[in-house]
Subunit: 163 residues, 2 copies
DNA sequence: TATTGTTATACTCTATAACTATA
DNA sequence: TATAGTTATAGAGTATAACAATA
């Protein structure tokens, strides 16, 4: 069970910098706005978490998909993450050049590439995942485990709508 | 109060396109990833909602802040929305050129600009807000009012961390 | 000396269209 | 004819540094 809070009287929807109480107008009630801000906050935190590794959000996403689906096609990875084919090319090049991903011509379709993590890629993935999980734990420190689950569940239902 | 759902048995963390069940690996448990996807889904929906108006997420944000704070300073608007001063310039130019925002030198500080919505700006803000609210209602149609409030409250707590 | 807004600039992310090689 | 990957390119969004006018 979760305690519900009256949104309109809460303090959480204001500029966190310098305790600025500037009213946001209709923005306060828009889920999209709060998703945008929360996502940006997590993106900043992510950057700090993986600082020095050369990784970015997209790249970690790709590594994670490949780890969970060895020999997956390049296009399949892109489709899962919402990345256009054209934009996948340089991303995979980056990972291959960095020695994190092995790219082979698919044995069943000579047009396609079969992607697998190298040992270095798997190590990088584990290192990044560990760091990110630690950072997320801090970001969500004031939430109960149940609240975190609820958040994940609600976000999952949203994204399921339209990918 | 809210009913909690067992996340691990839910179907919400998979690629919605074509019922693709591609496993996401460790990504599934990262809040940042789901925030990113949900935010992207809402951004796409936003674009459809305001299609033909010439508006974008940032611009609607600015209109909303100005509406709620007439004669607000340009820099204050940027700070509230996390927009750098340098990037505010062309955004405000765009709104002034479009006849949506009136820009005057502040009477109390001749360095600063005092921003107010024009009648057209207020009409545009109302039109966009109405469209976005209608679209969001559809995006969140399968959530109860309590779940939506909980979502807003949890997102607000996240963004309050680091703006 | 600090701050408001400005300019110039660069880098990332994203989106589209045209191409190739295979199917 | 359709699909996997490629190339080139253009548009947002975002970041920094240097500057002018004013505080």
């Amino acid at each position: 069970m979760l305690q519900l809070v009256d949104v309109s009287t809460q303090n959480g929807f204001q500029d966190g910098m310098s305790g600025n109480p500037l009213p946001l107008g209709d923005l306060s009630s828009l889920v999209g706005y709060h998703l945008r801000r929360a996502s940006a906050a997590f993106a900043l935190d992510f950057q700090e978490a993986v600082k020095g590794t050369g990784m970015r959000q997209v790249l970690v996403g790709i590594l994670s998909i490949i780890a969970a689906n060895p020999r997956v096609n390049q296009g399949t990875v892109g489709a899962a993450l919402g990345i256009k084919r054209a934009n996948m090319v340089s991303l995979i090049n980056e990972l291959v050049d960095g020695g994190l991903v092995a790219r082979e011509v698919s044995p069943t379709d000579r047009r396609a590439f079969s992607l697998t993590l190298t040992q270095a890629g798997e190590a990088m993935r584990q290192e990044c995942t560990a760091r990110i999980q630690a950072h997320e734990a801090q970001m969500l420190a004031d939430m109960t485990a149940q609240e975190r689950e609820t958040l994940l569940e609600l976000l999952g239902r949203i994204a399921a709508k339209r990918l």
